[in-house]
């Protein structure tokens, strides 16, 4: 599961969704792998406006990446900054969480990640 996808995941418990603590989910005991992928500039440049930058910064810090800039780069800035584009490509697309847990900051439920697949099925008492 790519780090980009973590930016679009939250707790599956209905009551949690409206709370600020449920997003982003917090990686725990995360095992990461790095893929070697070609940069898809068209996707990357245009996906920036869709990303919740604050959440991404949190996720990156929790996974041990260097701090991101306080503000998301604009498309224009990114087009002129090959290094930043490459760094973002590495973080968002090439880094995958393969094992570990994703933890809701509101209810505390831990969703297991195995072989890159997160399992969001809820135990009966949380449905």
């Amino acid at each position: 599961m790519k780090i980009l996808s973590l930016n679009f995941l939250t707790c599956a418990v209905k009551a949690c969704k409206s709370t600020s603590g449920s997003y982003p989910l917090h990686p725990k005991d995360a095992e990461l792998v790095e893929d070697d992928l070609e940069i898809n500039s068209d996707l990357l440049l245009n996906v920036m406006t869709r990303i919740d930058w604050t959440a991404l910064s949190t996720t990156a810090t929790e996974l041990g990446f260097p701090s991101l800039p306080a503000q998301a780069p604009t498309k224009e800035e990114l087009e002129g900054d090959e290094k930043m584009l490459k760094d973002l490509h590495h973080l968002l697309m090439e880094t995958q969480m393969m094992e570990g847990k994703l933890v809701c900051g509101n209810c505390g439920h831990e969703y297991a990640v195995r072989e890159g697949i997160a399992n969001f099925l809820l135990p009966a008492h949380l449905v």
Binding site: S5, T49, R50, N119
Partner: protein, 387 residues
């Protein structure tokens, strides 16, 4: 993948008639000609949530005119059935149990007390089945449907969206310019979906229930949901599933033309498919159990194609087929126990009548953008309202 021994299964146009014949053979070995297709009432449709699902048998006339495969000659019979392309028509069997399972109406909307039972019913007649048939199901589903592929390829670069009920993930890589996250209730199918693009291009997937999605509110540019919502056994749950999809996508900006929001694309099986091999029409019971037959491969048979491809466009699409697939002897290992007998799995379906999907979309605040009928399915593209 287990395609090597399943050429018939790998054909997305695998013969429904053959499935019916095989179902008849496996369940009615006396060749009575009465295939056991079940019309089943989901818990709420029975009008009494405390009742177990009612099962009614309906005579499948196709089975009477189709050669029922004698045991041991399944392969040749399957091929025959395909070339004839006969349609299966459910006769209006007025068994008492069928009468007790009227098409869903307002009166059959699930009371809250039966919601858990509806979930249990789907766990048995949908989730467990897909877990069991996942490898064979996946091997028969590889070709994207054009309407869906067009929807995906028309998305702006950098779009982000979800495929809810992604099955084996055949849509996840259709547009490499967008980011898609697939989810499915079946962990087995999700594993197939992850690897759909090959080991070098793994897809992002998660195991999740369509009624408890782990997606944040209003963020996605799009969400697709193909051949999923017809597995929900009450109208209330079907509408909740549509609502869950709409919740994922962006609202249009206030005061705008309403077209800048995210969109959902939903496909469901149609009641009206009198031109299909199944021959269902408006008089058909809307809530059905549809068999999936896994035939056991005979060890001595040669591995060669047993069916001819039917014409493109002639099939009902590969999302919804009753398929005879052959399991066994492709797992390697000479110490395998003797294969079990043919296995028939019954999947629950709610067949949508014309206009019903649009009603469900609008009932939960969606706005129909466009809609249509495509190869035995109703589909709709919808957006949220701006406020």
């Amino acid at each position: 993948m287990q395609q090597s021994t399943t050429p018939a299964a790998a054909d997305a146009d695998a013969p429904m008639a053959a499935a019916a014949a095989a179902a008849a053979a496996s369940q009615q070995p006396s060749s009575s000609g009465s295939a056991a297709l079940h019309a089943a009432a989901p818990p709420s449709a029975s009008g009494n949530g405390m009742q177990p699902p009612i099962t009614a048998t309906a005579a499948a006339t196709a089975a009477a005119v189709m050669p029922v495969p004698p045991s041991g000659q399944n392969d040749s019979t399957t091929a025959t059935a395909t070339s004839k392309g006969s349609s299966l028509s459910l006769t209006a069997n007025t068994a008492p149990a069928a009468a007790a399972a009227p098409p869903s109406t307002a009166a059959s909307l699930a009371a809250s007390s039966s919601a858990a039972e509806a979930a249990d019913y789907e766990a048995e007649h949908v989730h467990a089945v897909y877990e069991s048939i996942a490898p064979h199901f996946s091997a028969t589903r590889y070709k994207p449907w054009p309407v869906i592929a067009d929807f995906l390829t028309s998305l702006a670069p950098g779009s982000v969206g979800f495929d809810v009920g992604c099955g084996n993930g055949k849509y996840l890589g259709v547009n490499p310019g967008v980011h898609m996250l697939g989810s499915d209730r079946s962990a087995s199918l999700v594993s197939f979906a992850r690897d759909h693009g090959g080991a070098e291009r793994s897809q992002d997937v998660a195991v999740a229930d369509g009624l408890a999605l782990p997606f944040p509110e209003g963020r996605a540019d799009f969400a697709i949901c193909v051949a999923v919502i017809h597995h929900m056994s009450t109208r209330e749950r079907r509408r909740e599933a549509v609502r869950a999809l709409l919740d994922c996508v962006r609202r249009p900006s206030a005061g705008g033309d309403g077209e800048d929001g995210g969109q959902i694309l939903v496909y469901v099986w149609a009641l009206e498919q009198s031109n299909s091999r199944r021959g269902w029409d408006e008089s058909t019971e809307q809530d059905l159990l549809v068999p999936w037959v896994m035939k056991q491969k005979k060890e001595k048979k040669e591995k060669k194609p047993k069916t001819k491809k039917t014409k493109a466009g002639a099939a009902g699409g590969d999302g919804e087929e009753e398929v005879v697939v052959e399991a066994g002897n492709d797992a390697g290992g000479s110490n395998d126990p003797p294969p079990p007998a043919d296995t028939t799995y019954q999947r629950y379906y709610h067949l949508f009548r014309k206009g019903e999907l649009e009603e469900d979309v609008e009932a939960v605040g969606g706005k129909v953008v466009r809609n249509g009928y495509d190869k035995d399915n109703w589909w709709v593209v919808a957006s949220r309202c701006s406020s």
